[in-house]
Amino acid sequence: MTILKLVFIELWKRKSQLITGLLAITLGIAVIIAIQSVSVVSELNVARNLDNLGANILVLPQGASIDDYYTSDIDAPTLPMDYVERILTSTIAGVDNMSPKLTRRIKVGNQSIVLTGILPKSEIASKPLWQSSGLLGAELKTACAPNQSANKSHGLEDDKLKRKAIDTLNSKDCLAGSQVAKRLHLSKQSKIDIMGKEFNVIKILPETGTVDDDRIFANLRDVQQLLGIENQVSAIEIMGCCNAISEGLLGKLRNILPDTRITTIGQIVSTQIETNLLMKKVTLVMLIIIFFVGGISIGNYIWANVNERKREIGILRMMGAKRSTIYKMFLLKALVLGVGGGILGYLLGTFAGVILGPYLAGIIVKPVYIYLLWSVLFSVTISLAGSLFPTYLAAKFDPHANLQED
Protein backbone atom coordinates (compact mmCIF):
# COMPACT_ATOMS: atom_id res chain seq x y z
CA MET A 1 0.00 0.00 0.00
CA THR A 2 1.27 3.44 -0.95
CA ILE A 3 -0.36 6.84 -1.02
CA LEU A 4 -0.54 6.64 -4.84
CA LYS A 5 -2.27 3.25 -4.59
CA LEU A 6 -4.68 4.74 -2.05
CA VAL A 7 -5.49 7.48 -4.56
CA PHE A 8 -6.15 4.97 -7.35
CA ILE A 9 -8.26 2.73 -5.10
CA GLU A 10 -10.35 5.72 -4.00
CA LEU A 11 -10.84 6.86 -7.60
CA TRP A 12 -11.75 3.35 -8.72
CA LYS A 13 -14.14 2.62 -5.85
CA ARG A 14 -15.98 5.93 -6.37
CA LYS A 15 -16.49 5.64 -10.09
CA SER A 16 -19.41 8.03 -10.37
CA GLN A 17 -17.33 10.78 -8.76
CA LEU A 18 -14.38 9.87 -10.96
CA ILE A 19 -16.59 10.27 -14.04
CA THR A 20 -17.93 13.63 -12.79
CA GLY A 21 -14.44 14.96 -12.11
CA LEU A 22 -13.05 13.67 -15.39
CA LEU A 23 -16.02 15.03 -17.31
CA ALA A 24 -15.50 18.55 -15.96
CA ILE A 25 -11.90 18.69 -17.06
CA THR A 26 -12.34 16.66 -20.26
CA LEU A 27 -15.05 18.96 -21.59
CA GLY A 28 -12.99 22.05 -20.82
CA ILE A 29 -9.94 20.68 -22.62
CA ALA A 30 -12.07 19.33 -25.47
CA VAL A 31 -13.53 22.80 -26.09
CA ILE A 32 -10.04 24.33 -26.21
CA ILE A 33 -8.67 21.64 -28.52
CA ALA A 34 -11.68 21.83 -30.84
CA ILE A 35 -11.48 25.63 -31.05
CA GLN A 36 -7.72 25.57 -31.46
CA SER A 37 -7.80 22.86 -34.15
CA VAL A 38 -10.40 24.78 -36.13
CA SER A 39 -8.80 28.18 -35.57
CA VAL A 40 -5.35 27.05 -36.74
CA VAL A 41 -6.84 25.97 -40.07
CA SER A 42 -8.93 29.15 -40.15
CA GLU A 43 -5.82 31.24 -39.52
CA LEU A 44 -4.12 29.46 -42.40
CA ASN A 45 -7.07 30.27 -44.66
CA VAL A 46 -7.15 33.87 -43.49
CA ALA A 47 -3.40 34.09 -44.08
CA ARG A 48 -3.86 32.77 -47.63
CA ASN A 49 -6.50 35.40 -48.28
CA LEU A 50 -4.23 38.07 -46.86
CA ASP A 51 -1.41 36.91 -49.12
CA ASN A 52 -3.70 37.43 -52.09
CA LEU A 53 -3.38 41.13 -51.35
CA GLY A 54 0.09 40.79 -52.85
CA ALA A 55 3.51 42.13 -51.93
CA ASN A 56 3.64 44.19 -48.78
CA ILE A 57 7.17 45.69 -48.88
CA LEU A 58 8.66 47.90 -51.57
CA VAL A 59 12.37 48.53 -52.01
CA LEU A 60 12.69 51.75 -54.00
CA PRO A 61 15.67 53.82 -55.08
CA GLN A 62 16.74 56.52 -52.64
CA GLY A 63 14.65 59.61 -53.34
CA ALA A 64 11.94 57.75 -55.24
CA SER A 65 8.32 58.04 -54.18
CA ILE A 66 5.43 55.61 -54.33
CA ASP A 67 4.09 57.83 -57.14
CA ASP A 68 7.25 57.18 -59.15
CA TYR A 69 6.64 53.49 -58.69
CA TYR A 70 3.08 53.71 -60.02
CA THR A 71 3.52 56.37 -62.74
CA SER A 72 6.72 54.77 -64.10
CA ASP A 73 7.93 57.97 -65.70
CA ILE A 74 10.80 57.80 -68.14
CA ASP A 75 13.18 59.51 -65.76
CA ALA A 76 12.14 57.63 -62.63
CA PRO A 77 15.21 56.63 -60.59
CA THR A 78 16.47 53.03 -60.52
CA LEU A 79 18.55 50.80 -58.27
CA PRO A 80 21.14 48.13 -59.13
CA MET A 81 20.13 44.50 -59.77
CA ASP A 82 22.88 43.49 -57.34
CA TYR A 83 20.55 44.41 -54.50
CA VAL A 84 18.46 41.35 -55.29
CA GLU A 85 21.56 39.25 -54.77
CA ARG A 86 22.23 41.02 -51.47
CA ILE A 87 18.84 39.94 -50.15
CA LEU A 88 19.26 36.43 -51.51
CA THR A 89 22.64 35.97 -49.88
CA SER A 90 21.50 37.37 -46.53
CA THR A 91 20.07 35.16 -43.83
CA ILE A 92 17.17 37.46 -43.03
CA ALA A 93 14.08 35.45 -42.09
CA GLY A 94 10.63 36.50 -43.19
CA VAL A 95 11.30 37.32 -46.87
CA ASP A 96 8.91 34.87 -48.42
CA ASN A 97 9.22 36.01 -51.97
CA MET A 98 10.51 38.91 -54.00
CA SER A 99 10.10 40.31 -57.41
CA PRO A 100 12.57 42.78 -58.95
CA LYS A 101 10.90 44.96 -61.57
CA LEU A 102 11.87 47.52 -64.13
CA THR A 103 8.90 49.62 -65.17
CA ARG A 104 8.58 52.36 -67.78
CA ARG A 105 5.68 54.08 -69.51
CA ILE A 106 6.08 53.66 -73.27
CA LYS A 107 4.04 54.06 -76.46
CA VAL A 108 2.78 51.11 -78.48
CA GLY A 109 1.28 52.52 -81.61
CA ASN A 110 -0.63 55.51 -80.29
CA GLN A 111 -1.46 53.88 -76.96
CA SER A 112 0.40 54.62 -73.75
CA ILE A 113 1.15 51.46 -71.78
CA VAL A 114 3.38 50.46 -68.91
CA LEU A 115 6.08 47.95 -69.83
CA THR A 116 7.29 45.94 -66.87
CA GLY A 117 10.29 43.66 -66.87
CA ILE A 118 9.95 40.79 -64.43
CA LEU A 119 11.68 37.66 -63.31
CA PRO A 120 8.59 35.62 -63.97
CA LYS A 121 8.53 32.85 -61.44
CA SER A 122 9.01 35.15 -58.54
CA GLU A 123 6.63 37.66 -60.04
CA ILE A 124 3.93 35.07 -60.41
CA ALA A 125 4.68 33.62 -57.02
CA SER A 126 4.13 36.98 -55.43
CA LYS A 127 0.78 37.34 -57.18
CA PRO A 128 -1.29 34.43 -56.01
CA LEU A 129 -4.28 35.68 -58.04
CA TRP A 130 -2.30 34.94 -61.18
CA GLN A 131 -1.00 31.73 -59.76
CA SER A 132 -4.48 30.40 -59.19
CA SER A 133 -5.24 30.98 -62.87
CA GLY A 134 -2.95 28.04 -63.60
CA LEU A 135 -0.23 30.10 -65.18
CA LEU A 136 2.72 28.59 -63.47
CA GLY A 137 4.00 26.48 -60.65
CA ALA A 138 2.61 25.11 -57.48
CA GLU A 139 0.79 27.06 -54.84
CA LEU A 140 2.98 29.15 -52.60
CA LYS A 141 3.18 28.90 -48.86
CA THR A 142 1.35 31.71 -47.16
CA ALA A 143 3.38 34.52 -45.74
CA CYS A 144 1.48 34.97 -42.49
CA ALA A 145 0.33 31.46 -41.73
CA PRO A 146 1.11 30.15 -38.27
CA ASN A 147 4.18 27.91 -38.09
CA GLN A 148 4.84 28.46 -41.75
CA SER A 149 8.14 27.41 -43.17
CA ALA A 150 9.56 30.84 -43.96
CA ASN A 151 10.48 31.31 -40.35
CA LYS A 152 12.08 27.92 -40.01
CA SER A 153 15.63 27.11 -40.88
CA HIS A 154 15.91 24.29 -43.37
CA GLY A 155 19.55 25.08 -44.01
CA LEU A 156 20.94 28.10 -45.75
CA GLU A 157 21.09 26.57 -49.22
CA ASP A 158 17.45 25.57 -49.23
CA ASP A 159 16.39 28.97 -48.01
CA LYS A 160 18.30 30.66 -50.81
CA LEU A 161 16.95 28.31 -53.42
CA LYS A 162 13.41 28.89 -52.25
CA ARG A 163 13.83 32.64 -52.51
CA LYS A 164 15.83 32.70 -55.70
CA ALA A 165 14.17 34.24 -58.72
CA ILE A 166 14.48 32.04 -61.82
CA ASP A 167 14.19 33.42 -65.31
CA THR A 168 11.82 31.13 -67.18
CA LEU A 169 9.92 33.62 -69.34
CA ASN A 170 11.40 33.26 -72.78
CA SER A 171 12.79 36.18 -74.60
CA LYS A 172 10.19 37.47 -77.16
CA ASP A 173 7.31 36.23 -74.93
CA CYS A 174 5.13 38.57 -72.94
CA LEU A 175 2.03 38.64 -70.73
CA ALA A 176 -0.64 41.27 -71.14
CA GLY A 177 -2.85 42.78 -68.45
CA SER A 178 -6.59 42.53 -69.04
CA GLN A 179 -7.17 46.25 -69.73
CA VAL A 180 -4.19 46.73 -72.00
CA ALA A 181 -5.23 43.62 -73.94
CA LYS A 182 -8.64 45.17 -74.57
CA ARG A 183 -7.19 48.50 -75.64
CA LEU A 184 -4.64 46.92 -78.00
CA HIS A 185 -7.03 44.15 -79.10
CA LEU A 186 -4.62 41.47 -77.96
CA SER A 187 -5.38 37.83 -77.47
CA LYS A 188 -3.35 34.75 -76.70
CA GLN A 189 -0.75 34.06 -79.43
CA SER A 190 -1.07 37.64 -80.78
CA LYS A 191 2.06 39.43 -81.89
CA ILE A 192 2.93 42.86 -80.55
CA ASP A 193 5.70 45.24 -81.49
CA ILE A 194 7.34 46.88 -78.53
CA MET A 195 10.07 49.46 -79.25
CA GLY A 196 10.94 47.70 -82.50
CA LYS A 197 11.00 44.18 -81.10
CA GLU A 198 8.26 41.64 -81.78
CA PHE A 199 6.79 39.75 -78.80
CA ASN A 200 4.36 36.80 -78.60
CA VAL A 201 1.49 37.28 -76.17
CA ILE A 202 1.46 33.94 -74.36
CA LYS A 203 -1.24 34.80 -71.86
CA ILE A 204 -3.84 37.47 -71.15
CA LEU A 205 -3.81 37.89 -67.37
CA PRO A 206 -7.06 37.83 -65.47
CA GLU A 207 -8.38 41.14 -64.21
CA THR A 208 -7.01 42.08 -60.80
CA GLY A 209 -8.40 45.59 -60.42
CA THR A 210 -4.88 46.95 -59.92
CA VAL A 211 -2.33 48.85 -62.02
CA ASP A 212 -1.16 45.46 -63.26
CA ASP A 213 -4.20 45.35 -65.57
CA ASP A 214 -2.62 48.17 -67.63
CA ARG A 215 0.79 46.54 -67.95
CA ILE A 216 2.62 44.34 -70.36
CA PHE A 217 5.06 42.02 -68.67
CA ALA A 218 8.19 40.78 -70.41
CA ASN A 219 11.45 39.24 -69.37
CA LEU A 220 13.40 41.63 -67.20
CA ARG A 221 16.60 41.17 -69.24
CA ASP A 222 14.76 42.01 -72.50
CA VAL A 223 13.14 45.07 -70.96
CA GLN A 224 16.47 46.28 -69.56
CA GLN A 225 17.99 45.89 -73.02
CA LEU A 226 15.11 47.61 -74.82
CA LEU A 227 15.11 50.55 -72.40
CA GLY A 228 18.91 50.72 -72.34
CA ILE A 229 19.01 50.40 -68.55
CA GLU A 230 21.25 47.38 -68.02
CA ASN A 231 21.36 45.78 -64.56
CA GLN A 232 18.94 48.30 -63.10
CA VAL A 233 15.46 47.86 -61.66
CA SER A 234 12.77 50.34 -60.60
CA ALA A 235 11.78 48.49 -57.47
CA ILE A 236 11.95 45.17 -55.63
CA GLU A 237 8.56 43.99 -54.45
CA ILE A 238 8.81 41.78 -51.42
CA MET A 239 6.23 39.55 -49.85
CA GLY A 240 7.28 39.60 -46.23
CA CYS A 241 5.85 37.61 -43.39
CA CYS A 242 3.73 40.14 -41.50
CA ASN A 243 4.93 38.75 -38.18
CA ALA A 244 8.51 39.30 -39.31
CA ILE A 245 7.62 42.85 -40.37
CA SER A 246 6.29 43.61 -36.91
CA GLU A 247 9.49 42.08 -35.50
CA GLY A 248 11.76 44.44 -37.44
CA LEU A 249 12.20 42.98 -40.91
CA LEU A 250 12.32 46.48 -42.44
CA GLY A 251 15.22 47.50 -40.24
CA LYS A 252 17.16 44.40 -41.21
CA LEU A 253 16.57 45.09 -44.90
CA ARG A 254 17.67 48.70 -44.42
CA ASN A 255 20.90 47.45 -42.88
CA ILE A 256 21.85 45.52 -46.00
CA LEU A 257 20.40 48.07 -48.45
CA PRO A 258 21.38 51.38 -46.84
CA ASP A 259 21.02 53.63 -49.92
CA THR A 260 17.43 52.67 -50.69
CA ARG A 261 13.99 53.64 -49.54
CA ILE A 262 12.18 50.69 -47.97
CA THR A 263 8.52 51.06 -47.29
CA THR A 264 5.57 48.87 -46.45
CA ILE A 265 2.29 48.93 -48.24
CA GLY A 266 0.66 50.06 -45.02
CA GLN A 267 -2.88 48.92 -45.50
CA ILE A 268 -1.86 45.41 -46.44
CA VAL A 269 0.55 45.02 -43.56
CA SER A 270 -1.79 46.53 -41.01
CA THR A 271 -4.66 44.33 -42.21
CA GLN A 272 -2.45 41.24 -41.96
CA ILE A 273 -1.14 42.13 -38.52
CA GLU A 274 -4.53 43.16 -37.15
CA THR A 275 -6.22 40.01 -38.43
CA ASN A 276 -3.52 37.80 -36.95
CA LEU A 277 -3.70 39.65 -33.64
CA LEU A 278 -7.47 39.28 -33.54
CA MET A 279 -7.25 35.53 -34.12
CA LYS A 280 -4.65 35.22 -31.37
CA LYS A 281 -6.69 37.34 -28.97
CA VAL A 282 -9.82 35.25 -29.51
CA THR A 283 -7.89 32.05 -28.76
CA LEU A 284 -6.27 33.66 -25.70
CA VAL A 285 -9.61 34.81 -24.32
CA MET A 286 -10.98 31.29 -24.76
CA LEU A 287 -7.94 29.85 -22.95
CA ILE A 288 -8.37 32.25 -20.03
CA ILE A 289 -12.10 31.50 -19.73
CA ILE A 290 -11.51 27.74 -19.86
CA PHE A 291 -8.66 28.04 -17.36
CA PHE A 292 -10.88 29.76 -14.81
CA VAL A 293 -14.03 27.75 -15.47
CA GLY A 294 -12.05 24.48 -15.52
CA GLY A 295 -10.06 25.44 -12.43
CA ILE A 296 -13.21 26.37 -10.50
CA SER A 297 -14.95 23.14 -11.58
CA ILE A 298 -12.05 20.99 -10.46
CA GLY A 299 -11.61 23.03 -7.29
CA ASN A 300 -15.30 22.52 -6.51
CA TYR A 301 -15.01 18.79 -7.18
CA ILE A 302 -11.94 18.42 -4.95
CA TRP A 303 -13.58 20.53 -2.23
CA ALA A 304 -16.65 18.24 -2.27
CA ASN A 305 -14.30 15.27 -2.10
CA VAL A 306 -12.39 16.82 0.82
CA ASN A 307 -15.63 17.40 2.73
CA GLU A 308 -16.80 13.87 2.07
CA ARG A 309 -13.49 12.50 3.33
CA LYS A 310 -13.08 14.70 6.41
CA ARG A 311 -13.34 11.70 8.70
CA GLU A 312 -10.83 9.75 6.63
CA ILE A 313 -8.44 12.71 6.82
CA GLY A 314 -8.93 12.77 10.61
CA ILE A 315 -8.24 9.01 10.86
CA LEU A 316 -5.07 9.32 8.78
CA ARG A 317 -3.83 12.31 10.77
CA MET A 318 -4.57 10.43 14.00
CA MET A 319 -2.48 7.50 12.75
CA GLY A 320 0.46 9.76 12.00
CA ALA A 321 -0.10 11.07 8.46
CA LYS A 322 1.71 14.38 8.01
CA ARG A 323 0.06 17.40 6.45
CA SER A 324 2.31 16.76 3.43
CA THR A 325 0.73 13.30 3.09
CA ILE A 326 -2.71 14.90 2.87
CA TYR A 327 -1.37 17.31 0.23
CA LYS A 328 0.09 14.37 -1.63
CA MET A 329 -3.21 12.45 -1.54
CA PHE A 330 -5.31 15.21 -3.05
CA LEU A 331 -2.74 16.66 -5.43
CA LEU A 332 -1.94 13.19 -6.78
CA LYS A 333 -5.65 12.75 -7.36
CA ALA A 334 -5.73 16.10 -9.17
CA LEU A 335 -2.70 15.02 -11.21
CA VAL A 336 -4.36 11.75 -12.22
CA LEU A 337 -7.54 13.63 -13.17
CA GLY A 338 -5.45 16.20 -15.04
CA VAL A 339 -3.57 13.61 -17.09
CA GLY A 340 -6.74 11.59 -17.78
CA GLY A 341 -8.78 14.70 -18.58
CA GLY A 342 -6.02 16.03 -20.83
CA ILE A 343 -5.84 12.84 -22.90
CA LEU A 344 -9.61 12.39 -23.11
CA GLY A 345 -10.10 16.11 -23.79
CA TYR A 346 -7.57 15.97 -26.63
CA LEU A 347 -9.29 12.95 -28.20
CA LEU A 348 -12.78 14.41 -27.82
CA GLY A 349 -11.74 17.91 -28.96
CA THR A 350 -9.83 16.61 -31.96
CA PHE A 351 -12.73 14.37 -32.91
CA ALA A 352 -15.15 17.31 -32.58
CA GLY A 353 -12.86 19.54 -34.66
CA VAL A 354 -12.47 16.93 -37.41
CA ILE A 355 -16.20 16.19 -37.52
CA LEU A 356 -17.58 19.70 -37.01
CA GLY A 357 -14.91 21.71 -38.86
CA PRO A 358 -16.24 21.00 -42.37
CA TYR A 359 -19.87 21.62 -41.31
CA LEU A 360 -19.45 24.72 -39.21
CA ALA A 361 -16.44 26.46 -40.72
CA GLY A 362 -16.24 24.83 -44.12
CA ILE A 363 -12.68 23.75 -43.50
CA ILE A 364 -10.93 20.41 -43.24
CA VAL A 365 -9.39 19.93 -39.80
CA LYS A 366 -6.66 17.38 -39.21
CA PRO A 367 -5.45 16.12 -35.82
CA VAL A 368 -2.54 18.13 -34.44
CA TYR A 369 -0.55 15.61 -32.40
CA ILE A 370 1.56 18.14 -30.49
CA TYR A 371 -1.70 19.37 -28.91
CA LEU A 372 -1.83 16.12 -26.93
CA LEU A 373 1.21 17.26 -24.97
CA TRP A 374 -0.17 20.79 -24.56
CA SER A 375 -3.61 19.60 -23.52
CA VAL A 376 -2.14 17.29 -20.86
CA LEU A 377 0.11 20.08 -19.55
CA PHE A 378 -2.75 22.58 -19.56
CA SER A 379 -5.18 20.14 -17.99
CA VAL A 380 -2.71 19.20 -15.24
CA THR A 381 -2.05 22.89 -14.56
CA ILE A 382 -5.79 23.66 -14.31
CA SER A 383 -6.38 20.62 -12.15
CA LEU A 384 -3.52 21.35 -9.74
CA ALA A 385 -4.31 25.07 -9.58
CA GLY A 386 -7.98 24.36 -8.86
CA SER A 387 -7.12 21.77 -6.18
CA LEU A 388 -4.51 23.76 -4.29
CA PHE A 389 -6.85 25.73 -2.03
CA PRO A 390 -9.19 22.84 -1.07
CA THR A 391 -6.11 20.70 -0.41
CA TYR A 392 -4.58 23.42 1.75
CA LEU A 393 -7.80 23.50 3.81
CA ALA A 394 -7.86 19.68 4.02
CA ALA A 395 -4.30 19.61 5.36
CA LYS A 396 -5.23 22.25 7.93
CA PHE A 397 -8.24 20.32 9.24
CA ASP A 398 -8.16 19.70 12.96
CA PRO A 399 -8.05 15.87 13.15
CA HIS A 400 -9.78 15.87 16.51
CA ALA A 401 -12.76 17.87 15.17
CA ASN A 402 -13.20 15.41 12.32
CA LEU A 403 -12.91 12.37 14.57
CA GLN A 404 -15.64 13.77 16.78
CA GLU A 405 -18.06 13.18 13.93
CA ASP A 406 -18.02 9.64 15.28
Binding site: M1, R317, M319
Partner: protein, 224 residues
Protein backbone atom coordinates in the same frame (compact mmCIF):
# COMPACT_ATOMS: atom_id res chain seq x y z
CA UNK B 1 7.69 5.69 33.88
CA UNK B 2 6.28 5.53 30.40
CA UNK B 3 3.70 8.29 30.37
CA UNK B 4 3.11 11.04 32.89
CA UNK B 5 0.63 13.89 33.01
CA UNK B 6 1.32 16.84 35.33
CA UNK B 7 -1.36 19.41 36.10
CA UNK B 8 -3.02 19.06 32.74
CA UNK B 9 -5.51 21.82 32.02
CA UNK B 10 -7.68 22.13 28.94
CA UNK B 11 -10.09 25.02 28.73
CA UNK B 12 -12.66 25.79 26.05
CA UNK B 13 -14.28 29.14 25.50
CA UNK B 14 -17.98 28.98 24.76
CA UNK B 15 -20.13 32.12 24.47
CA UNK B 16 -17.78 34.07 26.73
CA UNK B 17 -17.73 31.32 29.32
CA UNK B 18 -14.66 29.24 30.20
CA UNK B 19 -15.25 25.52 30.37
CA UNK B 20 -12.62 23.40 32.13
CA UNK B 21 -12.62 20.11 30.21
CA UNK B 22 -9.51 18.99 32.14
CA UNK B 23 -8.77 20.63 35.44
CA UNK B 24 -5.27 19.99 36.83
CA UNK B 25 -5.19 16.32 35.98
CA UNK B 26 -2.08 14.37 37.00
CA UNK B 27 -1.29 10.65 36.56
CA UNK B 28 1.57 8.22 35.94
CA UNK B 29 1.43 5.18 33.69
CA UNK B 30 4.07 2.43 33.58
CA UNK B 31 5.00 0.22 30.63
CA UNK B 32 2.57 -2.70 30.35
CA UNK B 33 -0.20 -1.05 32.39
CA UNK B 34 -3.81 -1.53 31.32
CA UNK B 35 -5.41 1.77 32.36
CA UNK B 36 -9.15 2.26 32.28
CA UNK B 37 -10.63 5.75 32.44
CA UNK B 38 -14.27 6.02 33.48
CA UNK B 39 -16.61 8.86 34.25
CA UNK B 40 -19.93 10.37 33.20
CA UNK B 41 -20.50 11.99 29.82
CA UNK B 42 -18.70 15.33 29.55
CA UNK B 43 -16.28 14.47 32.35
CA UNK B 44 -13.28 14.93 30.06
CA UNK B 45 -12.35 11.27 29.37
CA UNK B 46 -12.12 11.55 25.58
CA UNK B 47 -10.49 14.98 25.82
CA UNK B 48 -7.77 13.46 27.99
CA UNK B 49 -7.20 10.64 25.51
CA UNK B 50 -6.96 12.99 22.54
CA UNK B 51 -4.75 15.43 24.43
CA UNK B 52 -2.11 12.82 25.36
CA UNK B 53 -0.43 12.81 21.93
CA UNK B 54 -1.36 16.22 20.63
CA UNK B 55 -4.67 15.68 18.85
CA UNK B 56 -5.86 18.39 21.23
CA UNK B 57 -3.38 20.99 22.50
CA UNK B 58 -3.30 21.67 26.27
CA UNK B 59 -4.03 25.01 27.87
CA UNK B 60 -1.35 24.27 30.46
CA UNK B 61 0.44 21.36 32.13
CA UNK B 62 3.05 18.86 31.00
CA UNK B 63 2.94 15.49 29.32
CA UNK B 64 6.06 13.36 29.49
CA UNK B 65 6.42 10.31 27.23
CA UNK B 66 9.46 8.05 27.40
CA UNK B 67 11.25 10.63 29.54
CA UNK B 68 10.65 13.58 27.15
CA UNK B 69 8.15 16.42 27.30
CA UNK B 70 5.79 16.19 24.34
CA UNK B 71 3.22 18.88 25.16
CA UNK B 72 5.45 21.64 23.81
CA UNK B 73 6.87 20.02 20.67
CA UNK B 74 5.82 20.76 17.10
CA UNK B 75 2.90 19.21 15.26
CA UNK B 76 5.34 17.48 12.97
CA UNK B 77 7.20 15.83 15.88
CA UNK B 78 3.92 14.78 17.51
CA UNK B 79 2.75 13.29 14.23
CA UNK B 80 5.99 11.29 14.07
CA UNK B 81 5.46 9.98 17.64
CA UNK B 82 1.85 9.00 16.86
CA UNK B 83 2.97 7.24 13.70
CA UNK B 84 5.67 5.17 15.39
CA UNK B 85 4.57 4.67 19.00
CA UNK B 86 0.78 5.01 19.30
CA UNK B 87 -2.16 2.90 18.17
CA UNK B 88 -5.72 4.26 18.28
CA UNK B 89 -8.97 2.32 18.60
CA UNK B 90 -12.22 4.28 18.36
CA UNK B 91 -15.81 3.42 19.19
CA UNK B 92 -16.91 3.64 15.55
CA UNK B 93 -13.92 1.57 14.32
CA UNK B 94 -12.68 4.38 12.05
CA UNK B 95 -12.06 2.14 9.08
CA UNK B 96 -11.70 3.60 5.60
CA UNK B 97 -14.85 2.37 3.82
CA UNK B 98 -13.43 1.80 0.35
CA UNK B 99 -10.40 -0.22 1.51
CA UNK B 100 -10.45 -3.96 2.11
CA UNK B 101 -9.59 -5.49 5.49
CA UNK B 102 -5.94 -6.05 4.61
CA UNK B 103 -5.60 -2.60 3.01
CA UNK B 104 -7.03 -0.92 6.13
CA UNK B 105 -4.60 -2.83 8.32
CA UNK B 106 -1.63 -1.87 6.14
CA UNK B 107 -2.20 1.92 6.42
CA UNK B 108 0.14 2.54 9.39
CA UNK B 109 2.89 0.65 7.54
CA UNK B 110 2.21 2.66 4.37
CA UNK B 111 2.62 5.87 6.36
CA UNK B 112 5.97 4.53 7.58
CA UNK B 113 6.89 3.59 3.99
CA UNK B 114 7.46 -0.06 4.83
CA UNK B 115 8.10 -2.01 1.57
CA UNK B 116 4.98 -3.56 -0.01
CA UNK B 117 5.90 -7.22 0.51
CA UNK B 118 6.75 -6.62 4.16
CA UNK B 119 3.42 -4.81 4.59
CA UNK B 120 1.47 -7.76 3.18
CA UNK B 121 3.42 -10.29 5.27
CA UNK B 122 2.86 -8.41 8.52
CA UNK B 123 -0.79 -7.66 7.73
CA UNK B 124 -1.47 -11.36 7.08
CA UNK B 125 0.20 -12.32 10.37
CA UNK B 126 -1.77 -9.76 12.34
CA UNK B 127 -5.07 -10.69 10.70
CA UNK B 128 -4.38 -14.31 11.56
CA UNK B 129 -3.65 -13.22 15.13
CA UNK B 130 -7.03 -11.46 15.38
CA UNK B 131 -8.79 -14.36 13.64
CA UNK B 132 -9.69 -12.60 10.41
CA UNK B 133 -7.46 -14.36 7.89
CA UNK B 134 -10.59 -15.40 5.96
CA UNK B 135 -11.87 -11.81 5.66
CA UNK B 136 -8.81 -10.16 4.17
CA UNK B 137 -10.43 -9.04 0.91
CA UNK B 138 -13.75 -7.94 2.40
CA UNK B 139 -14.84 -4.33 2.64
CA UNK B 140 -15.86 -3.03 6.11
CA UNK B 141 -19.55 -2.98 5.15
CA UNK B 142 -19.38 -6.69 4.31
CA UNK B 143 -18.40 -7.83 7.81
CA UNK B 144 -19.88 -7.66 11.32
CA UNK B 145 -19.30 -4.92 13.89
CA UNK B 146 -17.18 -7.20 16.07
CA UNK B 147 -15.02 -8.10 13.09
CA UNK B 148 -14.67 -4.44 12.17
CA UNK B 149 -13.42 -3.66 15.67
CA UNK B 150 -10.94 -6.51 15.40
CA UNK B 151 -9.67 -4.97 12.16
CA UNK B 152 -9.26 -1.68 14.02
CA UNK B 153 -7.32 -3.51 16.75
CA UNK B 154 -5.15 -5.23 14.14
CA UNK B 155 -4.48 -1.85 12.56
CA UNK B 156 -3.58 -0.34 15.92
CA UNK B 157 -0.91 -2.94 16.67
CA UNK B 158 0.58 -3.72 13.24
CA UNK B 159 3.30 -1.10 13.59
CA UNK B 160 4.26 -2.44 17.05
CA UNK B 161 3.35 0.65 19.09
CA UNK B 162 4.34 1.18 22.70
CA UNK B 163 0.88 2.33 23.70
CA UNK B 164 -2.72 1.85 22.53
CA UNK B 165 -5.32 4.53 23.22
CA UNK B 166 -8.84 3.11 23.03
CA UNK B 167 -11.89 5.36 23.17
CA UNK B 168 -15.00 3.31 24.06
CA UNK B 169 -13.86 0.32 21.96
CA UNK B 170 -16.89 -1.72 22.99
CA UNK B 171 -19.42 1.13 22.82
CA UNK B 172 -21.01 -0.10 19.60
CA UNK B 173 -20.92 -3.80 20.40
CA UNK B 174 -23.32 -6.18 22.15
CA UNK B 175 -22.22 -7.67 25.51
CA UNK B 176 -20.87 -10.91 24.00
CA UNK B 177 -18.80 -9.13 21.37
CA UNK B 178 -17.70 -6.58 23.97
CA UNK B 179 -16.29 -9.33 26.16
CA UNK B 180 -14.57 -10.85 23.14
CA UNK B 181 -12.86 -7.53 22.33
CA UNK B 182 -11.92 -6.85 25.96
CA UNK B 183 -10.37 -10.32 26.23
CA UNK B 184 -8.49 -9.60 23.09
CA UNK B 185 -7.14 -6.31 24.40
CA UNK B 186 -6.12 -8.08 27.61
CA UNK B 187 -4.29 -10.68 25.52
CA UNK B 188 -2.43 -8.00 23.56
CA UNK B 189 -1.54 -6.23 26.78
CA UNK B 190 -0.29 -9.43 28.42
CA UNK B 191 1.51 -11.04 25.47
CA UNK B 192 3.12 -7.96 23.93
CA UNK B 193 3.52 -5.71 26.97
CA UNK B 194 1.75 -2.95 25.07
CA UNK B 195 0.43 -0.29 27.42
CA UNK B 196 -3.30 0.34 26.98
CA UNK B 197 -5.30 3.35 28.09
CA UNK B 198 -8.99 2.67 27.57
CA UNK B 199 -11.81 5.15 28.04
CA UNK B 200 -15.09 3.41 28.82
CA UNK B 201 -18.57 3.86 30.24
CA UNK B 202 -18.90 0.22 31.01
CA UNK B 203 -18.21 -0.94 34.58
CA UNK B 204 -17.47 -4.43 33.17
CA UNK B 205 -14.85 -3.04 30.83
CA UNK B 206 -13.41 -0.87 33.60
CA UNK B 207 -12.70 -4.00 35.63
CA UNK B 208 -10.14 -5.10 33.00
CA UNK B 209 -7.83 -2.27 34.05
CA UNK B 210 -4.78 -2.89 36.17
CA UNK B 211 -5.00 0.83 36.95
CA UNK B 212 -8.31 2.66 37.08
CA UNK B 213 -8.88 6.41 36.79
CA UNK B 214 -12.23 8.07 37.37
CA UNK B 215 -12.88 11.54 36.00
CA UNK B 216 -15.61 13.92 37.01
CA UNK B 217 -15.96 17.50 35.74
CA UNK B 218 -12.42 17.43 34.41
CA UNK B 219 -10.80 16.21 37.63
CA UNK B 220 -9.47 12.83 38.66
CA UNK B 221 -11.57 11.80 41.59
CA UNK B 222 -10.33 8.28 41.96
CA UNK B 223 -7.13 6.50 41.09
CA UNK B 224 -6.41 2.86 41.94
Amino acid sequence: MMLQGENIVKQYHHKGEIINALNHVSFKVNKGDFVTVTGPSGSGKSTLLLALFGLIRLTSGNIIFDGKRIDNISDRQLTEIRKKSVGYILQSFALIPYLTTIQNVMIPLALERVPGKEQVKRAREILEYVGLSDRMEHLPREISAGQQQRIAIARSIIHRPQIILADEPTGNLDPTLSLEILEFLKKINGENQITIIMVTHSPVAAEYGTMKLHLNEGKITESR
